[in-house]
């Protein structure tokens, strides 16, 4: 089984709806009741890479991408019981976030950056704002992890387009995780103090 140019092959268990089990790592899908109306939250899913084909993945890596990609049955190659093999393009036509690290963290790839949002500067020293009312700066953040060969290093303060910072909400071994991911084309400047 050889994928065509700019595509890699993954496999996943089509019967695993609630969670994906890979060795000791168990990734749950978020419960429907936990989902809110925040349009900036994405619920990713994972699949095991079988044929990397120069994508940057290694065989056995867990690729992270939106769950809608797995629903595209036209990309299915074959089915062995409940295990489905399918191709995914990595030329930018599909939003692939990266891969899952050994501790359940997301390692960004394909021009995605893992970032941390920054709080808005204090307006007043007299009024103490409760934590629940603190707002994030819509434009600024700090890069926590960069993709390979990136020109923006970890720890850099960056400025991005408003609403381009997506929160990935997932669950590793029963623990809720949240990661902010920003695409390279949405980052417009760096900030130096």
């Amino acid at each position: 089984m050889k994928p065509l140019k700019n595509r890699f092959i993954v496999k996943f268990d089509s019967e695993q709806k609630e969670y994906f089990q890979y060795g000791t790592l168990k990734l749950y899908s978020p419960q429907r009741g936990l989902r809110n109306e925040d349009a900036k939250v994405a619920y990713p899913t994972v699949a095991e890479v079988v044929e990397p084909n120069g994508s940057g993945f290694n065989v056995g890596d867990l690729a992270v991408f939106p769950h809608t990609i797995l629903d595209n049955k036209s990309k299915y190659i074959k089915k062995e019981g409940s295990i489905v093999y399918m191709t995914i393009p990595f030329d930018g036509s599909e939003p692939i976030f990266g891969k899952i690290g050994s501790k359940g963290e997301i390692i960004p790839m394909f021009n995605n950056y893992v970032c941390k949002r920054m709080e808005e500067a204090k307006q007043s020293n007299i009024i103490i704002t409760p934590d629940s009312y603190k707002k994030n700066n819509p434009y600024k953040g700090i890069v926590l992890a960069s993709p390979p060969n990136s020109d923006i290093l970890e720890g850099t303060t960056v400025i991005w387009y408003k609403h381009s910072d997506y929160k990935l909400h997932y669950n590793v071994n029963g623990e809720e995780r949240e990661t902010i991911v920003v695409k390279r084309e949405d980052i417009v400047a760096t900030c130096k103090n």
Binding site: Y139, K140, I159, W160, Y161, V188, A189, K192
Partner: protein
């Protein structure tokens, strides 16, 4: 200090003030609201910018452009068409 990336430029907008004298003699200041086009000076440029240089006065569209600390970060690529023309 903000350093724009790629084809982006950092612009310091000019604030246009109109002084108005009221009946009581008090001079009020009307600051023009954010409008479709703003004039400003280019403070810094990204590495891929070749159509403008630092110090140029340009007229640009500020809509959707990130505004940080009173400065705008605007894309100069032809696909975006944010910068309409330069004055000098």
């Amino acid at each position: 200090m903000i350093q724009p990336l790629d084809s982006y430029v950092l612009i310091k907008p000019e604030q246009i003030k109109n002084e108005v004298e009221t009946k009581s003699g008090i001079i009020g200041v009307i600051i023009t609201p954010k409008i479709n086009y703003i004039q400003g000076e280019i403070i810094a440029i990204g590495k891929d910018v070749d159509c403008v240089k630092v110090g140029d006065i340009v007229v640009f569209q500020p809509i959707h452009a990130p505004e940080v600390d009173g400065y705008f970060i605007v894309n100069t690529s032809e696909n975006d068409n944010r910068i309409l023309y330069k004055k000098n």
